[in-house]
């Protein structure tokens, strides 16, 4: 029985990564249509560099990603702090409602924002995309930071106060340093979700405001040349590096000194 479990697990790992590895390998294949290996080439990558739409898409994605991440992280963190440290009417309700954006399917979130923008006559472009990204990322950041705060010993801030620190100072010298990995993790999540988003973005973007996923999507749909493999590989490599880097950076710091 134990054997079976290990075999299944191993198979799953293999099947999880194999398709993508294959994708990467064939991005270097000289053959355009068939999957027969005809030689190593960097042609497809060269073609990528020539594509104006990809560069514009990348630029758009970075702009939207950076600004939406910044706003979502700040708003979400403040929200998490309020939920964790303050008592106010409707706190329980808010805590629960915060999960609504998270479970809402992207298609529903997307069309609802489209309806809003059309109703108020807002032109669709990078601005509306950013607004949309902030909207669904606030909840994610808030949940991640909230979880981190929950594991934090509240008496740490109180101890700081008995030692003469007022609320703001306690926040600055105790809460923030300990919260930082959580905030960073939330920001990373927000950026990744924004950078990778297709569904919501496609619905609230206008002509000329295509982000990278939108450009890639149309490339995938036509799925002809290995150029798609090339762009996929690049996205893969960059993402992996960022994740690996973040993993190293966010080494778990203890949030409270355990007793005994």
């Amino acid at each position: 029985m134990k054997r079976l479990v290990w075999w299944v697990a191993g198979l799953v790992y293999l099947l999880l990564h194999l398709p993508v590895l294959v994708l990467v390998v064939f991005s270097f294949n000289a053959s355009k249509y068939s999957v027969r290996w005809t030689g190593f080439t960097l042609d497809w990558y060269r073609r990528l560099a020539e594509r104006e739409d990809l560069w514009r898409g990348l630029r758009a994605s970075l702009i939207v990603g950076a600004s939406s991440t910044l706003l979502a992280t700040v708003f979400g963190t403040l929200l998490a702090l309020a939920l964790a440290r303050r008592r106010f009417a409707g706190r329980r309700a808010l805590e629960g409602l915060l999960y609504l954006p998270i479970v809402t399917p992207e298609i529903v979130a997307g069309i609802s924002l489209l309806v809003l923008f059309v109703a108020i006559g807002a032109p669709l472009g990078l601005g509306t995309i950013t607004i949309a990204h902030v909207a669904f990322n606030i909840a994610f950041v808030a949940v991640v930071v909230r979880a981190r705060l929950a594991g934090m010993d509240q008496s740490l801030e109180e101890a700081a106060m008995t030692l003469g620190a007022d609320e703001l100072t306690a926040f600055r010298t105790v809460t923030v340093p300990l919260l930082w990995p959580g905030i960073l993790a939330g920001a990373l999540l927000a950026f990744t979700m924004s950078f990778d988003d297709y569904v919501i973005t496609s619905l609230v973007s206008g002509p000329g405001s295509s982000t990278l996923p939108i450009v890639v999507y149309s490339m995938v749909r036509r799925n002809v040349e290995p150029t798609v493999n090339a762009i996929s590989t690049l996205i893969l490599v960059v993402t992996s590096l960022v994740i690996w880097g973040a993993n190293r950076l966010l080494r778990e710091r203890p949030l409270a000194t355990a007793r005994g």
Binding site: V8, A82, V108, I111, L116, D166, V199, Y217
Partner: protein, 282 residues
């Protein structure tokens, strides 16, 4: 005594969520009960015709198919993901690596991973080429644009979401419990069903939810891997807002999806609160 006003902390977030999440949802609700306008938008009025349209077998079929596929994908992810979670929870030296390898796909672009599936499954794709080359088949198998492809895509896309919560549950499992069970005469299979599974149930429920809900609202997978024929409710909704130009009906369809999602979430909360000890929530 408060230096940082609670309003300051709550204000921006609540405002943004209110204006750009709650209000839009209300607008969609309103649109779903208004008659269709000339250009596909809405006209003033009240009608339930869009919701009634759902009772048309055509649309019920789409709804049903969506639920069945999402459910099947969830079941498949559970069967495949549980062993993975188990292995990670058991491993000591390689745990970080194994976790990273499961987490990595989660962070990788969904589009890229879906494309990987296309690359494998299409008529000129890797699988067909290998089978043709080996002489096992004479004409390419139609793998892409089938329900099978969509299912595969869903499982492939959402598997990490199932593994992580189950792993988290299993990690907290006290090995002393298993030893106690063994001492009381339970064999491996019995130990699994009477100790491990019940105690990992919160993780199983969480993981199932994390797969089922996005699968219900899935759009990209069925669009790219299923083509025009394998329509899930997500595609239906998108269609109404683009080519079919029927915003009110699309809005109604959106609420149908939301209803399914909320039912799933509600059930999972009910099951989770039943507790690992099987007692109803206090």
């Amino acid at each position: 005594m408060r230096r940082l006003s609670t309003w300051l902390l709550l204000g921006p977030g609540v405002f943004w969520l209110g204006a750009f999440f709650a209000v839009p949802m209300l607008l969609v609700l309103a649109a779903s009960v208004m008659p269709r306008g000339v250009y596909g938008g809405v006209e003033p009025g009240f009608t339930l015709e869009h919701y009634r349209r759902f009772l048309d077998p055509l649309y019920l079929h789409v709804l049903g198919r969506t639920v069945v596929w999402a459910g099947s994908a969830t079941a498949a992810c559970l069967l495949l993901g549980y062993p993975v979670a188990w292995v990670i929870a058991r491993s000591r030296r390689h745990r970080q690596l194994l976790l990273l390898l499961i987490v990595l796909p989660f962070w990788t672009s969904f589009l890229v991973r879906t494309f990987a599936m296309i690359f494998l499954l299409r008529d000129t794709g890797l699988i067909n080429s290998l089978l043709l080359g080996a002489g096992l088949i004479r004409a390419p198998l139609t793998l892409l644009y089938t329900p099978f492809a969509v299912l595969l895509g869903l499982v492939y896309g959402f598997l990490p979401f199932m593994v992580l919560p189950i792993y988290a549950s299993l990690e907290k499992l006290d090995p002393a419990l298993l030893e106690a069970a063994e001492g009381l005469g339970a064999r491996p299979v019995a130990r699994f069903f009477t100790v491990i599974l019940p105690l990992s149930l919160p993780g199983v429920i969480a993981g199932s939810l994390l797969v089922f809900v996005p699968a219900l609202g899935s759009f990209v997978t069925s669009d790219l891997l299923g083509g025009a024929k394998q329509v899930m409710i997500g595609n239906l909704v998108q269609n109404q807002f683009t080519t079919a130009r029927n915003w009110p009906f699309g809005s109604a369809a959106s609420f149908a999806v939301m209803a399914l999602v909320l039912v799933a979430v509600g059930l999972s909360i009910r099951w989770r609160d039943r507790g690992a000890d099987g007692e109803p929530a206090a």
